[in-house]
């Protein structure tokens, strides 16, 4: 009985379709949760930038606010305005959401596979040789969600938003693509995994080997700082985020392209936008900041840095207990102290991996995932920071920045990188 169950389990794990489906569901779950908490994070951070408290009523530190928002989105009335083009009106949010979620499928999160019954399960859904090209083709299509929403809504504000977004996307896509070419010249491949591995070519230099600094095997520096600045600016514009959020500029266009969308259709645009932010952050991490590579060199001396994720869990868990005890409700009496204690315990147990071999393996396994997530988080912070500090550009300024600044600078970066590589050799 048990034996046949185990056999069935092994057969399931070896089945490609089953594993992929499980991976897709898991990734969707994680990404949607992260999306929800990204709204909380953004509101909280912007609030603190503007000397406010932000959400703090629902749950401790407003942590249940995303759940409340989600429920609200589901139960709101969903009117369809008169005179809309029904098919396109319903298609647009679907397109926006589907495309932005699809792009996550080609992002590799860690090189270390999870071994289950001798079957290696990698932490990516698909790892094609042309990962970067696929990402760019999805980005190229993602403009339709917004443009069509603006057109189908039968409202002048929406139409203006849609028009602006398509013009903006076309303009910034050029700079976005050109700014990456420098990295491609150094990596000689479109595969995201190989691009990351190439940044580890010069051993024992740690973060100096990342493309942003570009220490190579033969001791030369090929820094891609200009490429990175162009890339990230263009990417913010591509994802329609402040200070480039002209398609939805609320002071001019009410809410731009999604003025006429309510309830969950609005939420779909929202989720699409946040997922695009995550994708861009992943891409910036992979292309310029070494992906899953550690900040520290991979030498025995720096071995202790492999315990950073475990060590950070311990004080964080203690802080959660301390913070939780301040509440007089069920949060303080039960939930937060328990969560804090669990975090503390996990951190402490993993730290024991210094002496216990299997726990050491666990530490090694979470190593790349930790660095990848940490870097992605830094870029998400940048996104929110930019929104909290920079004023929105005027339309002509937007076009000037795109065509007259970013594009020439990124082309110059390509030319200089090409000549440098020609002169001093491939990295």
């Amino acid at each position: 009985m048990i034996e046949s169950l185990v056999h069935a389990l092994i057969a399931l794990v070896q089945n490609f379709w089953f594993i992929t489906t499980v991976k897709v569901i898991l990734l969707l779950f994680i990404v949607l949760t992260v999306n929800a908490y990204l709204t909380w994070f953004e509101r909280k951070l912007v609030a603190h930038i503007q000397a406010r408290w932000g959400p703090h009523r629902v749950g401790p530190h407003g942590l249940l606010q995303p759940a409340a928002d989600g429920l609200k989105f589901l139960f709101k009335e969903d009117p369809t305005p008169a005179g809309v083009d029904r098919f396109v009106y319903y298609l647009a949010p679907l397109l926006a959401l589907a495309l932005s979620l699809t792009s996550l499928a080609v992002i590799p999160f860690s090189p270390k596979p999870l071994e289950l019954f001798g079957q290696k399960i990698y932490l990516w859904i698909s790892n094609p040789d042309i990962g970067l090209l696929i990402l760019f083709s999805i980005t190229a299509l993602s403009v339709y969600g917004i443009a069509l929403a603006g057109w189908a809504s039968n409202s002048k504000y929406s139409l203006l938003g849609g028009l602006r977004s398509s013009a903006q996307m076309i303009s910034y896509e050029l700079a976005l693509t050109m700014s990456v070419v420098g990295v491609l010249l150094m990596a000689n491949t479109f595969s995201l995994q190989s691009i990351i591995e190439q940044q580890d070519n010069a051993k024992h230099v740690g973060f100096l080997g990342w493309n942003i600094i570009g220490w190579t095997r033969n001791g030369f520096l090929f820094p891609q700082i200009i490429g990175f600045i162009c890339f990230f600016t263009a990417a913010i514009a591509e994802t329609n985020r402040a200070p480039f959020d002209l398609p939805e500029a609320e002071s001019e266009l009410v809410a731009g392209f999604h003025t006429e969308y309510a309830s969950f259709k609005f939420a779909m645009f929202f989720i699409a936008e946040y997922t695009a932010m995550i994708t861009v952050s992943c891409l910036a991490t992979i292309l310029f900041f070494g992906g899953w590579l550690s900040l520290f060199p991979a030498t025995p001396f720096w071995q202790f840095t492999h315990y950073i994720p475990s060590i950070t869990l311990i004080p964080f868990g203690l802080w959660v207990i301390y913070d939780g005890l301040k509440y007089e409700t069920i949060w303080g009496k039960l939930v937060l102290p328990v969560i804090g204690f669990v975090m503390f315990a996990i951190g402490a147990v993993l730290l024991a991996g210094i002496w216990v071999a299997p726990l050491h393996a666990v530490n090694e396994f979470i190593q790349p995932v930790f660095w990848f997530t940490a870097k992605v988080f830094v870029f998400l912070f940048f996104y929110v920071w930019a929104r909290g500090t920079l004023p929105r550009l005027r339309y002509d300024q937007l076009m000037n920045v795109g065509w007259k600044l970013l594009l020439p600078v990124s082309i110059a970066n390509v030319i200089v990188t090409a000549f440098v590589i020609l002169k001093w050799g491939q990295s």
Partner: protein
């Protein structure tokens, strides 16, 4: 039926439906959307043949940039539904037979390919991207650059014409 063949038929069917729908629809935006479906399906077909780079470029350039411009112009001009008129009386009677004849001749060519064509069906392409770039930038660099120059001239010509009308 193998998975590849199944995917091929799904994509090919979608492409044909999209193409027919493109002609059928009266509103320009719906036609443009159908054209995007055709482009993306073609990209999928390229991908099936192992031409990854061409597939990606097909989506980025045609599906993305060019069709966005189409839609941009349609939105900007606020083009309404097209009015159907009977321009030509010959088309009514000759159109269908001609279309059938064309389809038949293409089908005949596909079923019984010319001597050289038969070998060109199944070729494994290792490092397709690299090969394309070597071809473009080494063997055919002059035609390639000339083509880009031609496009530049066309853009400038369009600009000059547009400016003249303004005055």
């Amino acid at each position: 039926m193998s998975a590849v063949l199944l995917i091929f038929f799904v994509l090919a069917g979608l492409a044909i439906i999209g193409a027919v729908n493109l002609v059928w629809q009266k509103h320009p935006i719906h036609s443009a959307l159908s054209l995007i479906v055709v482009m993306v399906c073609l990209a999928g077909l390229y991908l099936l043949m192992g031409a990854e780079f061409v597939a990606a470029v097909q989506i980025i350039v045609y599906g993305g940039a060019i069709m966005v411009l189409f839609i941009f112009v349609i939105m900007l001009l606020n083009a309404g539904e097209e009015e159907r008129t009977d321009f030509s009386k010959i088309a009514k009677f000759v159109g269908l037979p001609l279309a059938l004849a064309l389809t038949a001749s293409i089908a005949a060519a596909v079923v019984k390919p010319a001597a050289g064509l038969a070998n060109a069906t199944q070729v494994a392409i290792p490092k397709a991207t690299e090969q394309i770039s070597t071809m473009l930038f080494k063997e055919f660099v002059y035609p390639f650059e000339l083509t880009s120059f031609l496009i530049l001239v066309a853009i400038m010509g369009a600009l000059v014409l547009a400016q003249r009308e303004k005055k």
